[in-house]
């Protein structure tokens, strides 16, 4: 499982970075989204990978070793909400910029290319 997860994080990060450095605004947004998926997976991995372990302790005394760490899951939840909101905002700015400048280049003007 470790190798699959780390490959997934690596590929998402690499594609995200490549898209982030592209000149079109839409590519930049997709790049940021891919990067945020990679970061979310990374946070989950920071809480150690467990299968079949619930994060919420039931009633009565319980052995903490039988449960997954709930903190990274809470962090990821927060991070997802925040990145969702900022991506939505960035999309609006992208549309406004496209409307005002007439191009989808990140600098608001097309180079020679």
């Amino acid at each position: 499982m470790e190798i699959v997860l780390s490959l997934a994080i690596g590929i998402l990060t690499a594609s995200g970075l490549w898209l982030l450095f592209r000149p079109r605004t839409f590519q930049v947004i997709l790049g940021l989204s891919l990067l945020s998926y990679a970061v979310n997976l990374f946070i989950i991995a920071a809480g150690r990978l467990r299968t079949d372990a619930p994060p919420i302790v039931g009633k009565g005394a319980a052995d903490p070793a039988a449960y997954a760490d709930p903190v990274p899951q809470a962090l990821v939840l927060t991070a997802i909400v925040i990145s969702f909101a900022t991506t939505a905002l960035l999309l609006v700015v992208l549309m406004a910029s496209r409307g005002l400048t007439g191009t989808d280049h990140v600098d608001g003007e097309d180079g020679e290319a």
Binding site: V39, A79, L90
Partner: protein, 532 residues
């Protein structure tokens, strides 16, 4: 700390949040009510911050655990001297900028007041929180509000500048999360005080991972602080923002500086074993590079907004390299410089718009009356000059006076607080037993930055204020002059009360270098007691 005073710590976060949420439900046309409400809230924030500062000075750091959960699990807010001082600075800037905005800026787009109060809430929260994940949340709140405020007023320049600003800040936030995750995976805690404790006893094999985490986290803050080479967005974005927004943004780079100050002393102070002094050299050299970039930028800038933007970079550079060198006396001096330069830059941002407005008019008039051949109207002009050359219109006098004041403050010329701050910095550097080459470089750059600022401000002043034009109509409203005057008065007070202020900074620096009381107040060792 007893009774209602114990809950004061959360007021700087709750008050603007509630007011802002309430304002969203108000009709956009009820401008007067909104203005009164937001000005009232920001005035109350000044009061709350002053009270917190007083109580932190009297009785040391105060921790507030929301919901009275035990320490490492609770959302902890901590008000110590440094946080309270930054809160007071924020609320003063917030109040003056809001006041200025009521001249006409709050009408150029919807929801200005609600966004502005949310920005204040985010900044206050970032200064108060004692937990790195909540720091992330408050950072996002202040950034989200700042995205809205940058766009306030719309226009092509603002939209494309904010596109860069938003993209860079989202990328930096992702780095922030990676850093938090790395620190959590090694230490298992997010509480800053708890982190400091577990870092001092971290095993050697984990040290590399910890340092990597802290470095990635640091990059996220350095982007906010505008360090070279991560600062290219800053001058353009700040120049594109409307004046009251830019004035309050002057504190946003300081949020990055504050976090670096807090975390580097808390996590990598002298008690923290193998990781002590981590990244200090990197901060020092990056700070020096930022200063060089800022100085060149100041000299090359053709617009006042660009000068101000590059000055923000220079002051970030000075602060970061001073943090890198460390030492109590230098830390005290850098805190003084932080307060003084933030106030001065904010005043300059407010002043720029009236000055440029006047200059624009002069340009137009000049263009009409310009003689085609140089010698054509010589006689006529001289005659006029003898008649009314000495009359200086009141507007120009006020603007010019404020401009000179700002220039002296920014350049660090005597007798104002900017001079005292730079003097204290250089004095503290000379007190080191052996002065390294990099310290000499910092001293030279501090003095050079003053020279560059003087040159640029003189040039801009001659260009904008002295260029002869027709008498400008005195359209400077009291609403615009008062906040500038207030900010400059605070600087004057800082100059007159430099002794007590410096004493306070000394004690703050002492507490930063010896974070025992902070850890005791916010850390997990204390049993029970929500708000002590």
């Amino acid at each position: 700390m007893t009774g209602w005073l114990a809950h004061l710590v959360i007021v700087p976060i709750l008050l603007p949040l509630v007011a802002s949420a309430f304002m969203l439900s108000m009709d956009e046309r009820r401008r007067t009510a909104k203005r009164i409400l937001s000005l009232g809230v920001s005035a109350l924030l000044v009061g709350a911050a002053a009270l917190l500062l007083w109580s932190a000075r009297e009785s040391g750091p105060v921790a507030y655990r929301i919901g009275d959960w035990p320490s490492p699990f609770a959302i902890t807010l901590v008000a110590d001297r440094l946080s309270a001082m930054m809160l007071l600075l924020t609320s003063i800037l917030g109040f003056t900028s809001l006041f200025y905005a009521t001249a006409r800026w709050d009408r150029s787009g919807p929801r200005f007041h609600a966004l502005f109060l949310l920005l204040l809430m985010g900044i206050n929260g970032a200064f108060l929180t004692g937990d790195i994940f909540n720091l992330f949340v408050f950072f996002e709140v202040l950034l989200a509000a700042s995205y809205g405020l940058i766009l306030h007023g719309s226009g092509t320049e603002r939209t494309s500048a904010s596109l860069h600003y938003i993209a860079i800040n989202i990328a930096a936030s992702l780095l922030f999360l990676v850093g938090v995750a790395l620190l959590y995976s090694v230490t298992g805690t997010l509480n800053m005080a708890d982190l400091a404790v577990s870092l001092s006893s971290a095993a050697d094999e984990n040290l590399a991972l910890l340092e990597a985490g802290a470095a990635i986290l640091g990059v996220a803050f350095l982007v906010k602080a505008g360090i070279w080479p991560l600062c290219f967005w800053l001058p353009r974005t700040y120049a594109a923002a409307s004046p009251p927004v830019a004035a309050v943004f002057a504190i946003m780079t300081k949020v990055g500086i504050y976090v670096i100050l807090r975390l580097s002393f808390l996590l990598f102070g002298k008690d923290s074993g193998g990781a002590a002094g981590f990244a200090n050299d990197a901060l020092l050299y990056a700070g020096l590079a930022t200063m060089v970039f800022g100085i060149v930028g100041i000299l090359a800038a053709r617009h006042l907004t660009r000068i101000a933007g590059h000055y923000v970079l220079v002051s970030s550079g000075i602060l970061l390299s001073a943090i890198g060198i460390g030492g109590e006396a230098l830390t005290a001096a850098l805190l003084f410089y932080l307060v003084s330069s933030t106030l001065a830059v904010s005043a300059l941002y407010l002043l720029i718009e009236p000055v440029e407005r006047h200059a624009d008019e002069a340009d137009i008039i000049e263009g009409i009356s310009e003689p085609v051949f140089d010698d054509e109207y010589v006689g006529a002009i001289e005659e006029e000059e003898t008649e009314e050359g000495v009359i200086i219109p009141g507007t120009i006098a006020i603007l010019g006076g404020g401009f000179i004041f700002c220039a002296l403050l920014l350049a660090g010329l005597p007798p104002l607080s900017g001079f005292i701050a730079k003097f204290a910095l250089i004095d503290a550097l000379f007190r080191h037993v052996s002065i390294a080459l990099s310290h000499w470089a910092l001293i030279a750059l501090i003095i050079l930055s003053g020279l560059a600022t003087t040159i640029a401000m003189t040039r801009a002043g001659i260009d904008r204020l002295w260029t002869p034009g027709e008498d400008s109509p005195s359209r400077l409203s009291l609403v615009e002059v008062t906040p500038i005057g207030l900010l400059l008065t605070v600087c004057l007070t800082l100059m007159l009360a430099a002794g007590p202020a410096m004493d306070f900074m000394q004690a703050t620096a002492g507490a930063l270098h010896d974070p025992g009381s902070y850890i005791e107040a916010a850390g997990p060792a204390v049993q029970g007691g929500g708000a002590r």
